[in-house]
Amino acid sequence: MKKMIEGSRAVAEAVALCRPDVISAYPITPQTHIVEELSQIVADGQLDAEYIRVESEHSAASACLITGVNRALSAPLSIWNDHQDTMGIRDTGWLQLYAENNQEALDMHIQAYKIAEDDRVLLPVMVCMDGFILTHTYESVDMPEQEQVDAFLPKYDPLYRLDPEDPYTLGAYIGPELFHEARYVMQQDCLASKEVVKEVAREFKEAFGRWGGDVIEAYRCDDAETIVIGLGSVVGTLKDWADARRAEGQKVGALKLRCFRPFPGEELVEAVSGAKQVVVLEKAVGMGAQGIVASELRSALYGRSTVPVSCAIVGLGGRDVTFNTIDEACKRAGAGEREFFAGLRTEALEEA
């Protein structure tokens, strides 16, 4: 059913549709609305779940699925959106999906349960959803029916559980004789989960009729000379921008990196190799280093393509990303700048 609701509420309802048994919650702006909505859903008796209000997020972070509502990291303290938080944990073995809009955030949660619970994966999944920009925005979403979700997500039957009838030991510690191998296996699983992400996206399309790409989504990229890559909510703006600039005769395309972990290197190489310029819009900084996504992309392209790749850091700590920002990024990339911040308030820098 289509309705006009706040992004946080949409996600909370989607999570409720997935019938979790236990919800552990700790507020942190801007994710707060989601746990608040969930607690209201439970308080109203609409979901029968144990809702634990833990004493710190250190205690909350033991779930197999988390909504990573993206926000900037200190210092300085900021509660507004960028991707520094989730980018900072990109090595950990969590799968990371970035939502373009509230509909996708909602759909991704349902998909994420299916991915994480797949025997082939057994890795946690994080749905990254831009704080404020998505969570606090009212827009229309198509909310699935409970029966549809139930059919898509049969009751979870974990491979290993803490069951007195079958008492496994979980989380042993391991010496140098096997650790290297254990990480190798985990890396293989993580890389292989890309296929599961794609598969679940296809199944979701069949069941619900919606499609936002599997690991990437190319928009007007086919004959594009400049391809601009983004993650999360900026992609909506990017698509409109591409339409606008195409209308002016510029051959540009937008590329959504929907799944950042595992990193879809092959797919990206294929998608951008034909272009003349690639611009990656990044909402995080690798301090003292190159752009995080851009360097992974260049690395994937290395020896396979020579299309120039520039990294434009944009939208940190809630800085709005506008058509101007994107134009600036493309212009500077075209002039050969590899790594730069776009959308800087230069006058503020001079003052300081």
Binding site: A25, P27, I28, T29, T32, H33, V35, E36, S39, Q40, V42, A43, D44, G45, R53, E55, S56, E57, H58, S74, P76, L77
Partner: protein, 300 residues
């Protein structure tokens, strides 16, 4: 009426222009405390309303050295500063204070606070207790009172609000055996100031929990902050107690007003007055107040 322009010295510690809501009990309490403390101090502050309303870059309401690091570690940061001042031989005169909200103190930062108390640092830790996470939008904390409706313990068809009693952190701190623990209220300001003065005269860890009503979070008109705070004390739900070396040494006697008088003006308790179940909870709350009255001998 042509008067002199107003002037504000940095030495006040806490200056106007901060962005607290009008009628904020917390802002009033901090002001009172800083007046007693004076300029020779270093303040650490956990994340929460106080930090946010007093230091939005590039503004700071603080006239004394002030540092914020995280939501959870005000006590640890204070401990580091105390150690540095000790090494520099400045601890005799310079006081170290840590401010944290109830969420920062009772929940996420309690490990750090407990460690600080255990190690015996010479710090006055002040918890301003507005009984929920206000800065993030009124979520429950361990210090939220029984049956209060918050955004994570909302009243609803299957819920009467918070289902756990308020965590008694002052008693828990007292059980650490530290030299001084006290509860205070912004509404009893002479008492509050006396306690701050007393704490500053004692070496070692001191813990002060100040009850600070919050108009938007509790849902009452902003002018009534002082009145609401008084009722909390006078009904027995927030007893004013002092502990020294783990033992209760002084309590403030109360009038024993019925808890309804305190609860009724507040939106967070509104649901209790609307259903039969709610009324039963009112009796439970009265029982909690009575238990305090009994335990601490609040009524002669």
């Amino acid at each position: 009426m042509a008067t002199q322009p107003f002037t504000y010295e940095l030495s006040r510690g806490f200056l106007p222009g901060h962005r607290a809501c009008a009628g904020c009990g917390q802002a009033a309490a901090v002001r009172m405390i800083m007046e007693v403390v004076g300029p020779d101090c270093v303040v650490t502050n956990a994340t929460g309303c106080l930090e946010v309303f007093s230091t939005p870059y590039p503004e700071s309401a603080w006239g004394v050295p002030w540092i914020h690091s995280l939501f959870e570690n005000a006590a640890s940061v204070a401990a580091g500063i105390e150690a540095a001042l000790r090494k520099q031989g400045r601890l005799e005169t310079t006081r170290v204070l840590a401010f944290g909200g109830d969420g920062a103190t009772v929940d996420i930062g309690f490990g750090a606070l407990s460690g600080m108390m255990e190690r015996g640092h010479d710090i006055l830790y002040v918890c301003y207790d507005n009984e929920a996470y206000m800065n993030t939008g009124v979520q429950r904390s361990g210090s939220t009172p029984f049956a209060a409706s918050t955004t994570t313990s909302p009243a609803g068809r299957a819920s009467f609000g918070e289902d756990r009693p308020k965590k008694n952190l002052p008693a828990i701190c007292a059980a650490h055996g530290i030299p001084y623990v006290a509860t205070a209220s912004v509404s009893f300001f002479a008492d509050l100031k006396r306690k701050v003065r007393k704490a500053l005269g004692i070496r070692g860890p001191k813990y002060l929990q100040v009850h600070v009503p919050c108009p938007p979070g509790w849902g009452y008109p902003e002018k009534d902050t002082v009145e609401i705070g008084k009722l909390a004390v006078e009904c027995g739900l927030f007893p004013l107690v002092e502990w020294e070396d783990g033992e209760v040494t002084r309590v403030r006697k109360i009038k024993k007003v019925p808890v309804e008088e305190y609860l009724k003006p507040q939106r967070r308790f509104r649901h209790l007055f609307r259903t039969e179940e709610g009324k039963a909870k009112l009796a439970d709350i009265q029982a909690l107040a009575d238990a305090n009255i009994e335990k601490y001998g609040l009524v002669d």
